[in-house]
Symmetry: C2
Subunit: 246 residues, 2 copies
DNA sequence: AACTTAATGTGTTTAATTTACACATTAAAC
DNA sequence: GTTTAATGTGTAAATTAAACACATTAAGTT
């Protein structure tokens, strides 16, 4: 159950009350950040949601968001908010889109900048503070608070597009991983099945994987080889990529 | 020369003075929009710039921007600002990125949402109002006011990426156009040379061009055939596009 | 009228990339 | 020892992209 304790209310709510009282202020647009944190967990793509404690959306799930301070960079605000609400700090956030419909937020005019990231659920411990915080299967996400469904959809599309443009996700796997684990990751993000042989061919051709001559342990089937990602090689090749393709 | 007449100052400047006086207001972030309007003109890619009338950047060129009103949608603000500053109204704007460094604007904390578009210079008359407004060759754009150089660079990259993902630019050409004109457009945007035969092959394969059995007139060489773009066919095929490509 | 100029229109071959597809192997679980 | 559930491997076919040259046309020039 959501614990909508007054004393633990978010900065957003406090500030919004102030905003609403300043009717004639020309500068009455509040700026917020919403973070869409995707998590890879046992071959499933999840997203981190929190219960809304605003009256209008009481009980609904929402993204991790709060107001930007006047004296902090926008990107810094995103990292701060994520840290405050989840304890996560070693996470790379990327800006996606800014949502600015007049009535998107019930408490007043709030324009929100959406950021997203993708992490491994197993590698990050969450500090659950004032509200319920849960990993949800992305496929079952519906009916979020505010316009968060739209923000979520936009970020998921962005993630899917991104993963097709650049190899991604090596921070999500253990340092040593099998090709099956890598393929699971891609299949989870893109929500498609891929041919194992072609997938391996493609990744080996990219030449970013180093065979470390170890095998999986304790799997209930033939163990696979383990690889690690060569970040240096990747950085070098990344620059060359280009091409025209309609 | 720039005419920095007090009475014609932009809403941005007026509002910023108000903002600066309200030191203790928690909500002292101002929100603005900057429009990067690319123009295709005689085989060259241009961008529409205006002289800055702010002291710190007096005389420098800048993007078309102003503050968002509290009671208008973000997208609507972009269209309004473009209309006010240029007279342009039948232009499609697309949001690209939001820039939110603390000190990006000398007059106070202003977070700016960047939008871009691409139009045909010949098809749009500009209403030049308070400031100098000029089409600049994109290749010679340097040293813009504020962080506008960065915004411009980001939008140009976005345009180039966009044009490689979806056929684009049919609103930029005359209704009837030759393949050479189409190729000029792509070469101007991407700043590369393309093989004529392969270019034609690619576009004909896409099957969006209709041969209208007319020829160019009054050209000082063998006249080319004219085509029109089949928007219906395009809309139908667009949905199918997908694919994994690292 | 003949010549020059500057562009159009056209096809093929080669290389590269992507897709489809099947079977023997291995380690653990029972 | 048998079953289970996965790994590892190669090739052929189809598609897509890239490289490349010459005859044609209309206007402009002399």
């Amino acid at each position: 159950m959501p614990n909508s304790d007054q004393s633990l209310q978010s900065a957003a709510q406090k500030s919004l009350r102030i905003i609403q009282s300043e009717v004639e202020n020309i500068n009455k647009i509040a700026l917020s950040v919403d973070c869409v944190i995707f998590g890879f967990d046992e071959s499933k793509l999840k997203v981190l949601l929190i219960r809304s404690d605003l009256k209008n959306y009481h009980g609904k799930w929402s993204l991790l968001g709060d107001l930007v301070f006047p004296n902090e960079d926008l990107d810094a605000a995103a990292y701060r908010i994520l840290k405050q609400r989840t304890g996560l700090s070693d996470v790379y956030l990327e800006q996606v889109h800014t949502f600015g419909k007049i009535n998107r937020h019930p408490a007043g005019r709030v324009v929100s900048v959406a950021y997203y990231s993708l992490i491994n659920v197993q590698h990050h411990k969450l500090n659950i503070l004032e509200n319920e915080l849960h990993w949800h299967d992305v496929k079952s996400v519906t009916d979020l608070a505010f316009d968060h469904q739209q923000i979520f959809d936009t970020c998921l599309q962005q993630l899917q597009k991104r993963v097709q443009e650049h190899p991604l996700g090596f921070n999500l796997l253990p340092r040593k991983f099998s090709l099956r684990e890598l393929q699971n990751l891609y299949e989870a993000i893109l929500d498609i099945k891929m041919d194992r042989r072609n997938f391996r061919k493609k990744f080996f051709a990219m030449d970013f994987l180093t065979d470390i001559n170890e095998m999986e342990q304790d799997v209930a089937h033939r163990p696979g080889k383990l690889y690690k990602f060569d970040f240096d090689k990747y950085e070098k090749k990344k620059k060359k990529m280009s091409g025209i393709d309609f």
